[in-house]
Symmetry: C3
Subunit: 366 residues, 3 copies
């Protein structure tokens, strides 16, 4: 695949410079690119001065606004007004994507009652259950299974070995990475009598009546409802709801190995980074960002626009717009003060001991 | 599927009220239910006053003891003596489960030496190895693989894409959610000379002799032994033991993305919530509850009836019956005090600084 | 499989004792072994005095140097100079491994352009894409998929249901446990205007301009490059790079449920234990050990020979050779002091309060 500097600049809504007819076949780090001839080649990504240092004369590059292509001896350049945003368009242009051949592979098993929209590419050994509806333009990799009655919108991209159980509904442009599981049963159990967990919630930590207890499953009748433009990471798991559905809003992106418990509701345009876990029935607002390894307790609410730093553990309600950090999570600035104080703590203890001594001497003297 | 109020109340060991002949076809939140005609319909779950507020006159509901169905204008009701317990029976009654057709799918590959009990439902593309024994009533979803010599008891439910390696033994009523891996190799490696890890365990944190080290695998000859009534969550992993088996006791429930290392022993009736990790050779007693993201170091012992709060990190032995929290985990009440003190720490530092000043002045004056 | 004491001792580079012609058929704990006849049997592992207590007279055992086989009444023994190292050789000798039949299973789908080396054992329902190259001696379990253009060296062992995407390169002797995903797309998104995350990085935690934001994917054009002798655990995930490859060095071992983000570089001979997460573009040196549940922020660097204790959370650069612990991770000895001080904190607060009182009285008196 090749595209001219002119066409690429236009596609990226950016400005071109130099020989606009040079063909671009890919993008890479400056160190991995070199001078190009009339057949063009790979364009270097050099949007920061640090990267630009290794640019070679005679090559093509994407530069930040204000950088001088002549100073680097470039043949052609594209100026990026907002480098990371340009990266989105650029990488999309050159991504060949996974290799799922057009049409339905003969080994795929699709229930006669299922409906698959136009232009689908369905890979080997895929299993699609009864009454499933899949929109147009779907790409479904090998070994995917989709259970009874699930519905996906248009342009779904379901990678190899992803598991979509029965009763899952998703909007358009759903992306599911390999091995993700959508619609497993909720982790919801009950004991005939009060359990130890219920006891310590009532007593705030004291155990009196320890006894035998067997766990009985509460089944998950609810499904999972997913909005448009959602992405779900490799080996992430989203459990089905108990009575109502577990829900993920439009535009929310979920990273690898994330866990959403039963009945969880996540709003629109959130980022849930890798290894985040949200326990049953908690509610997360819109545009919330949870960094890697953040944990959210069950049955709590996180307001809109909250940002939680890496590995924060959230045990209580968080008001909208707050930036939090730590275990237990508190306001980021408070956490920073606590950490500073903690590091000083050993020295601080010595100081108090000395003070104590002085005061004792003062008392004796007095 | 429909069942009368009378039959449902009886199945739930609860008391019915009103038109006991009305058919119930499902259960939902009060907001998603409405008035029913003689053909019945969906019953509302309104076991707490908060949920009951949205009940519609003419509908059917499950209420807590002492609530007045007439005040809500209901046509029929069932009284729940212990609401969460009733949920178990109710949801079981209406759960259609995954759609695995009866019989053995023609694409399943079952070794001639394997024995599958009566009434099995085995899905497409399942692979069952040599000498496997599976009890009666098994339901095995698509793309599951079961390795040489593994044994499952009666009524196993193995969801899509679960991986059971060779040499795994499980009791009756095993449930494995999609993508779980039982019997992967243990993470056990050794260096020809003392490794950095061995060094810092010996020196308590000091590194003197840093050198090259290559890791050689210790193979896992032990399998995995699982009791009756165990459930294993989506994408959870349980490694095989080195010499003896990794073990999970009767009635223990394991959530999504949990990791049990090689040689781990977990007792009966435990709950291991999502993203819990237990490192190699540690031993967990009976009726232990580890909340989400709890970590347990290798080679330690956790007594019976321990409850560990969310994200606790357990580095040392925990006596039976203790309720713990934090990183490192300590008694929950101690942790609460520590957290309170930590939040006060910055203010506290100011207070000491002021005290220091005062004492200095006193000294100068004296 | 059986091997004489003589041959086993020789294979383990260790010294035999007693009846060197006795055949050994396996290895187990002393409690699970007993007296053997001329046909031999299972050898007991009794390298520490604790384990040796349960040795039965007439049995065979592996002992530590200096232990006396006659005192235990053994028929034969092998002396282990370094017990854990001997375990590696011993368990390798008796590991039957997974059951993948030689040859290519007729249900496997291998693209005509793919090249599979000599002696391959490829299981049922495997899917291998275009232009894939796999070295000699590969063993590939059921339901594995390998995407377009990926290359594996000799003697690869890919367990059931592992997912290797397109553009992944690995050296010799790669081991991938079940369900691992190599080459999923990176979690890299951008908003048209400054996002909340960029804002708080700039303002260090303050949010002023909260607004709508939709996330646009930055595609992952880079692949994954893996060295020789690497092992990847069950359900672990390694994302592909954005422009250059995500990289794992020679001899590095990765445990279950570990996550490596896009562009991450991990050096040689590292151990990454279960549930470790390394965020995008971070760089880990050689011989680094990250214990279970360690988290590493994005875009930071960890020097050679660093060891991080369980559940450490690493937010900033770590110099080579350092041993760290805690959240946030600091030097292990500092962390130990902080923890000691924290446990004393409530008592300490009382002490300061009392001191305050005394000083107030002194002041009044003065």
């Amino acid at each position: 695949m090749a595209i001219t500097i002119r066409a690429l600049a236009q596609a990226l809504d950016a400005q071109g410079w130099g020989d606009l007819d040079l063909p671009v076949t890919g993008a890479s780090e400056p160190g991995a690119t070199g001078p190009v001839g009339p057949k063009g080649g790979v364009i270097a990504l050099a949007m920061s001065p640090k990267y630009a240092e290794t640019l070679k004369p005679g090559s093509m590059a994407i530069l930040a606004q204000g950088m001088d292509p002549q100073a680097f001896g470039l043949k052609a350049a594209i100026f990026a007004p907002r480098p990371r945003l340009l990266m989105a368009g650029l990488t999309r242009a050159f991504d060949p994507g996974p290799d799922i051949a057009p049409g339905i592979h003969p080994t795929a098993i699709i229930d006669p009652s299922a409906q698959v929209g136009e232009g689908a590419a369905i890979g080997p050994f895929v299993v699609i259950g009864a009454d499933v509806r899949i929109g147009s333009g779907a790409r479904i990799g090998p070994h995917v299974s989709i259970g009874r009655g699930s519905r996906l919108g248009d342009d779904a991209l379901i990678h190899a070995g992803a598991r979509i159980a029965h009763g899952v509904t998703a909007g358009h442009r759903l992306i599911v990475q390999p091995g993700a599981v959508i619609g497993g049963d909720g982790f919801s159990f009950v004991t005939p009598e009060e359990s130890g967990i219920e006891e310590i919630r009532r007593t705030l930590g004291t155990r009196e009546g320890i006894k035998q207890q067997h766990w009985t499953r509460i089944h998950s009748l609810g499904g999972v409802e997913i909005g448009d433009d959602v992405e779900i990471g490799a080996n992430a798991t989203i459990d089905r709801g108990t009575i109502r559905a577990t829900r993920v809003g439009n535009g929310t992106k979920i990273d690898n190995l994330v866990m959403l418990g039963h009945n969880v509701v996540v709003g629109d345009d959130c980022l849930l980074c890798s290894q985040v876990g949200i326990a049953g029935s908690s509610k997360v607002g819109n545009r919330v960002v949870l960094a890697g390894k953040v944990g959210v307790s069950d049955n709590i609410e996180i307001g809109d626009d909250v940002i939680a730093g890496g590995a924060s553990k959230i045990f209580t309600r968080v008001p909208a717009g707050r930036v939090i950090l730590g275990n237990p999570a508190v306001k980021m600035e408070t956490q920073m003060e606590i950490q500073k104080a903690m590091r000083r703590l050993p020295r601080f203890a010595q100081q108090v001991a000395k003070l104590q001594e002085t005061v004792t001497r003062l008392l004796e003297k007095g």
